[in-house]
């Protein structure tokens, strides 16, 4: 990352190779649409290149920083698209849970096992909300609608769930 911050495009290519799958996967979970996900993935990497100097390794890993960026940009794109399309209809037709592939992926790494274990230990009401947000890629508004919950309750459960996950994941490292 230091080389990227210094403008090394060869290092950036290596970073792309390492993170492209995570970025594209994160974006696609939110957007559903593959073509749009490619566009946003490109935007994320251009932003990563442009703002590399802002990255502070004392605060986050590169992948956390980039995944956070990817999620935010995908959500921004959804918000823009909402003014032009009926996203609910699109979601209903293009939103498979892909549960099998998720399971396959989760068991593919040590981190995946730790995450799966920590998720399983969450209270049901928090686990469901966390899965909808970060596996299905739903916004908290979508979650509130689907579960018929107040927005504040959804945000509270997300916060509590992440807090518990953070504690479990941190403690197991």
């Amino acid at each position: 990352m230091q080389r990227v911050q210094a403008g090394d495009d060869a290092a950036f290519a290596l970073l792309y190779d390492e993170l492209a799958g995570v970025v594209f996967g994160t974006v696609k979970r939110v957007l559903r649409d593959p073509a749009m996900s490619e566009e946003v993935t490109q935007e994320v990497f251009v932003e990563l290149w442009r703002t590399a100097a802002r990255f502070d390794p004392a605060r986050a890993s590169v992948s956390t920083w980039v995944v956070t960026m990817a999620r935010r940009r995908a959500v921004d794109r959804v918000r823009r698209e909402q003014s032009q399309r009926d996203r609910i209809e699109r979601s209903a037709t293009q939103h498979p849970r892909e549960a099998d592939s998720t399971v396959d992926t989760v068991v593919a790494s040590i981190e995946a096992e730790r995450v799966a274990r920590a998720m399983a230990e969450l209270p049901e009401e928090q686990r469901v909300v966390i899965e909808m947000a970060f596996i299905d890629g739903d916004s908290h508004g979508d979650i509130a609608t689907r579960l018929d919950l107040p927005l504040g309750t959804v945000k509270g459960r997300v916060r509590l769930g992440l807090k518990k996950l953070g504690g479990k994941l941190g403690a197991s490292q």
Binding site: D9, F12, Y16, D17, A20, G21, V23, F24, G25, K28, S37, E38, T41, Q42, E43, F45, V46, E47, W49, R50, T51, A52, A53, R54, F55, D56, A58, R59, A60, S61, S63, T64, W65, T68, A70, R71, A74, D76, S83, T102, V106, S109, E111, R114, V115, M119, A133, I135, S139, H140, G152, K155, G156, R159, L162, K163, L165, G166, G167, L169
Partner: protein
């Protein structure tokens, strides 16, 4: 002890759903309170750990597109002494990071300024020349519909800004949609950024719906990166980071 409000903002940060105002509030809180910063970092790391399990390789062609794109994108520079901001982000300095190269700008814009001076000779009776073209047509449409019009879509922290330039019209048009509405104390400002510095094209503000359509004369963006910043009302002489969008 973290307030309910900060807890809510941390949840929204992990969800990628903070508004610009919320982001500033959370950044300020994280700077003031290390506990907030630590809780935020932990929440983002947990959310990222889950999302890393959803990796899916994009089409191979995207790699070439990305690597080609960055060749024309300048990197931001953070001045020495920047403090740590939220989300692993070094604090954005308030001052300019792109030097204002006045001499170069004067040389570059001299022909345009001369042309503007000549046009001023026809400025009679307090009627703004940009209101309509000589034939009464819409000056914005004239640029957009010009046969030589070129389009650049700006990308960055804000999206939805497109710049259309026509050399034959000697003008560019900023088109924007879905932009954050600014209060009276702030404005967006468009810059031409070259190797030696940045030159202001002008300021623009979206309407209540977040849309903008504004024509600027006296600016030729060919060979420059276009950048948009948020500035105090009236604009600034040099850009204030971050560059919100560029192309």
């Amino acid at each position: 002890m973290i307030s309910d409000r900060i807890d809510e903002l941390i949840a929204l940060a992990a969800l990628g759903e903070l508004s610009v105002e919320d982001q500033r509030e959370l950044d300020d809180a994280a700077r003031r309170d290390q506990t907030v910063a630590a809780e935020l970092d932990e929440a983002l790391a947990a959310a990222a750990a889950i999302q890393r399990q959803q990796a899916e390789e994009p089409p191979a062609a995207l790699r070439d597109a990305v690597l080609a794109a960055i060749t024309s994108i300048p990197q931001e520079v953070v001045l020495d002494g920047g403090e740590t901001d939220a989300v692993g982000v070094a604090q954005r300095p308030a001052g300019p990071v792109v030097s204002f190269e006045a001499e170069r700008a004067r040389r570059r814009f001299r022909p345009v300024l001369l042309a503007a001076a000549a046009l001023a000779l026809f400025f009679v009776g307090g009627v703004a020349l940009v209101a309509t073209n000589d034939d009464g047509s819409d000056p914005i449409a004239a640029v957009i519909d010009a046969p030589d019009a070129t389009v650049r879509s700006l990308i960055g922290e804000i999206d939805g800004i497109t710049v259309i330039y026509s050399a034959s019209e000697g003008a560019l048009v900023v088109e924007g949609d879905g932009l954050a509405v600014l209060d009276d104390t702030a404005t967006y400002q468009l810059w031409l950024v070259g190797d030696d510095g940045a030159t202001s094209v002008g300021t623009f503000r979206p309407d209540a719906d977040g849309t903008v359509s504004q024509r600027f004369g006296d600016a030729d963006p060919i060979g420059f990166v276009l950048g948009v910043t948020r500035e105090p009302a009236g604009g600034s002489e040099s850009p204030t980071l971050p560059i919100l969008a560029s192309a």
